[in-house]
Symmetry: C2
Subunit: 615 residues, 2 copies
């Protein structure tokens, strides 16, 4: 069923000014920092099983996953570039992990050391199968990067144990993961092993989830099934509900199962859930899961700017789900959402420096914002539930999967970030200053007879070696099938106007407000650039916005948008309420990419700005 393949990590080398520096910092800052935090907190060495009751640093039930995600990040780095010291570090960790495995195949630090008596008894919140999934993803990535099978084999033994325990045969438990993840991990494993048991187990988990009577209620009658996406079978779901990270992991797991089984009904369920999620419940930045209580999806059009949640992990999960759907269907709207998330809501959670994080990505923050739990206006270097920092380790090191796709005789470029791309049908060099500029040049490095598809608006003209080349226009992609020769040079210019985005007024906090967008980049206004809090500003849209190059932290070449705004005067004595007419004065404003907010002095920020209506 799968139409398109994602590139191998080693086959894409970014040369753009947006992601390439972030990837470099992932290697030199983010992953080393995560290893250090994992060591300090006891996570890294937990697999040595030295912890005993009464000792500090009691392992938590999701520690295994934190370490696994960092290991997956390391594997991603090693897939691109050998690094003996890093590989030796990973090998030592893997020795520890495998040494923690019981003869039965069982492998989980928390349920071995802390509460062994609770093993397999609290799937709903125990993260036991979730940890197994992340260990599998790490094992697969490490095998793909290094060819080493030790961790992979250990995880296969663990999967044998899980497959024997769970299922519909007599004596088996009819359970499934409280936090989905294992489903998609099993498909990644299956693609290596081609062991049908691995596919069958993933499929069982997807199909069994939400069946009546509710399995989680046998564990704890008070469990909120909606939040756990277990209130009904996936096939009956019509809206994105529940815990947002659980949701996107589940949907992607289902899509991956559909890819392997050819189940088009299941795929269409995934498409329906994707459409509700992105068309009714997604922030303009690509953030999802607006509910600050429980990190959940809430209702259509409930997208509060301040106190909205939009967990970093959920955005990264949405990118992966969108990419999966894009490769399964080839439909351009998945690429649009993928690009939206990548350049905005998924990146905002990590500082430019690579070692400070937001767990929650609200669209408005300010001095008067009340910080509670993960809703913060300052980035943190770690969290006690540190899923987001460890997710960045694997996400940023794995970005190369998202920008291009290939099939036997075809290549597709979804996002024209500057990169060298070496895919089975051919190799290309993409030159651009995307997302800051729309001029793109694609040079064929290794030719061949293949279809080359490039995502662009229909009106964009493409030139091959200087002459217009009429390609096929097919719902968002230009494409041409021909014998490409090394040195062939394709050029086109994407229009990059500053766009004004408006929101459905059902989102009450956004009614009458606008967002500035240019290319894939969503802009916000930060107090530190403007000297005033953004809520004082109203932007007239009938003006010629200007562009300005600027540097934030050690990212330079950033394109800011500038223009004129009206700035409300503060009332006399800073009164809370007043009856006088509102006075405003003209000032210039600077808007910066949302992905880079919160990297300078603390201050107010807003994505949605009031529109100054026309005279």
């Amino acid at each position: 069923m799968k139409k398109w393949n994602a590139p191998e990590l080693r086959d894409v080398c970014f040369a753009d000014s947006f992601f390439a520096p972030r990837q470099e910092r992932t290697r030199f800052v983010t992953i080393p920092a995560a290893i250090a935090r994992c060591r300090e907190t006891g996570r890294w060495d937990a697999f040595k099983l030295r912890w005993k009751p009464g000792m500090p640093d009691q392992p938590h039930m999701y520690w295994d996953s934190d370490v696994a995600k960092v290991l997956e990040g390391i594997a991603n780095l090693l897939a691109v570039k050998r690094d003996g010291a890093l590989e030796a570090e990973a090998d030592r960790l893997i020795d520890d992990i495998v040494s923690a495995q019981e003869p039965s195949g069982y492998l989980n630090v928390y349920f071995t050391l802390v509460h062994p008596e609770e093993r397999w008894s609290r799937l709903y919140d125990g993260h036991e199968l979730y940890c197994a999934g992340h260990l599998i993803e790490a094992a697969v990535a490490y095998f793909e990067a290094t060819g080493k099978r030790k961790l992979l084999d250990a995880l296969c033994r663990y999967v044998d144990l899980i497959a024997a325990l769970f299922g519909r045969a007599p004596g088996q438990k009819r359970g499934y993961p409280g936090h989905p993840e294992l489903e998609l991990a099993l498909i990644r494993l299956y693609r290596i092993t081609r062991n049908e048991k691995h596919l069958a187990l993933a499929r069982y988990f997807i199909e069994e989830r939400g069946m009546s009577p509710a399995y989680f209620h046998t564990e704890n009658p008070k469990v909120n099934l909606l939040n756990l996406l277990a209130d009904r079978p996936l096939r009956e779901m019509k809206e994105a509900t529940g815990h947002a990270v659980r949701a996107v992991y589940l949907y992607r797991g289902a899509a991956e199962v559909a890819a392997e089984t050819g189940d088009s009904e299941l795929l269409s369920v995934c498409g329906r859930l994707f459409d509700n999620m992105t068309g009714r419940r997604m922030y303009v930045t690509g953030g999802i899961g607006s509910g600050p209580w429980g990190e959940t999806f809430t209702h259509d059009f409930d997208l509060p700017n301040q106190y909205g949640y939009a967990e970093s992990c959920a955005a990264m999960g949405l990118a992966a789900f969108a990419s999966c759907m894009l490769n399964l269907t080839g439909e351009e709207h998945y690429a649009g959402i993928l690009e939206r998330v990548l350049y905005n809501g998924a990146l905002s959670g990590i500082s430019i420096s690579g070692d400070k994080f937001f767990y929650s990505n609200q669209l408005e923050a300010g001095a008067s914002m009340y910080e509670f739990g993960h809703i913060q206006r300052r980035r943190s270097s770690w969290f006690s539930t540190s899923c987001c920092p460890t997710s960045y380790c694997r996400f940023l090191s794995g970005l190369a999967r998202f920008f291009h796709s290939w099939a036997e005789d075809a290549i597709r470029i979804h996002i024209p970030a500057a990169a060298m791309v070496n895919l089975p049908p051919g190799a290309l060099k993409i030159e651009s200053d995307y997302p800051w500029d729309g001029q793109v040049k694609i040079t064929v490095l290794r030719g061949g007879n293949f279809l080359l598809g490039v995502r662009m608006p229909d009106a964009v003209e493409v030139r091959l070696n200087g002459k217009v080349l009429q390609g096929k226009r097919d719902s968002g992609y230009w494409s041409a099938a021909r014998e490409w020769k090394a040195g062939d040079c394709l050029e086109y210019i994407l229009p990059m106007p500053v766009e004004v985005i408006r929101c459905n007024p059902k989102v009450s906090c956004c009614a009458g407000r606008i967002v500035l967008k240019r290319g894939p980049v969503i802009y916000c206004i930060e107090e530190c650039d403007n000297g005033v809090i953004p809520s004082r500003l109203a932007i007239p849209v009938d003006q010629n916005f200007r562009l300005k190059k600027m540097q934030i932290g050690n990212m330079d070449g950033i394109v800011a948008v500038t223009g004129e705004a009206e700035c409300l005067r503060l009332p006399v004595n800073d009164a809370l309420y007043y009856t006088e007419a509102a006075h405003a004065e003209k000032i210039g404003f600077i808007a910066v990419p949302y992905a880079f907010w919160g990297n300078r002095e603390e201050g107010a920020m807003s994505v949605w700005i009031r529109e100054k209506s026309k005279k």
Copy 2:
């Protein structure tokens, strides 16, 4: 120190169309319903001490206060009008309460039946001293209404026990209430008993609170001292912080202590906290405590409309604190806040029918609003923590304390609601349709030589028996001292324009929005009147707003405000985001008093409406 006295409840009889019907429903609906809910849930009979471990309906640590507040409401009713059956019901309850008292004087159901071993060991959250305070208030009210001393004497014995336990003498605990309430109750008791120990204990609690080392940390090192208003001594506080109900109860307790001790420094601290609370942290409706997590004050200008908290009990507590400060200082701005709260944020928490409640009073609600905990868009008839419904029992039956003040030779009218007022210096009949109309006629029923002060803007002309009477104008009050004769008739007309209120743009959700206000009434827009959700509307302020009489539930004579608005069209396919220009069409709108929202079919509501800027 006290300048002014509040009237006795029996001395004010409302005849207005706003509060008089509510008071009637308090007698016939709210209090009977609260008694019924207290019975159903086991609260009412809990003092019989029949509960044993393993039985259902385990008493909760604040049950005593719920029952005490209903009893105080009954006492308020009996103070105005004898009712043999109701008094017999109260007497039976009082017999139960007193029978639950131990020989030592101790009196608390939860710490007698459920966790006797925790007695006096968790002041920080045990509500033990809080319950004592509410029992004292009920006892005082019942004594004042009926002259019966049984409960009062029992509570005096309990206070003897508490006074022996707590204090700075050797062997005493240096604790104080986790939830303030006992402080102000002790002053009410002191005003009956004139027992100096009662005043001294209240003063001790006020002075000791927040001293270092923190007493609550001896009970539990993890206690959040800020939320409990115990992070510093009250005299050092500069901002309204912590749990909003605790805060206003504490401040009022301190003000009542200052009233009795003449401590002007303490009074000025209370004034400073009042000013921060109302000038930086109060909703335009008079709601306070915007933090949905912990029912707390947060920061200056943090007043989210949706998901704001504004607990009903906090608004009622603010009214009582404002009234206390008004009588202590005579300063008009306390009357302004008192009136603001009474007609808006304190009343919004109870349905017109008198038996449905909001715990939290957000300023914006809609179909897309995510309900969580007490943040709801539908009223409930009860809550497991049912402080708000029981607070209404005593608050609405005790409203007569808030509208007028008197001194030896003076009467002040703060709010000209229609009423018969019989105060020591004289008796008056106030005729008006306030708050719907500004025409006021005050007829002297019993004359005398006294100063009559009436709150009004300086420009308002006052006529005595048809002729202009030049009175003294003193910061918000007109006044005249003379020999008033029965039949003297004072008339004036308060201007009642529809006012447009704007908000400091530091409150980001309110920037560019307006509120309509007329007299003391804050208006909101409900979907059910307008056929569209309020976030689609923008109101041009350069128009002549019109008034319209209407009925909601069984309240008639309500004055609605109508006018023209622009209504944003919904985007094609109800798209979440769009780039087309926003199209709006003119429609008429109806705005209704915020206090009456949520009494009809469910739908969206908003207080703050976008301002359509002038052409």
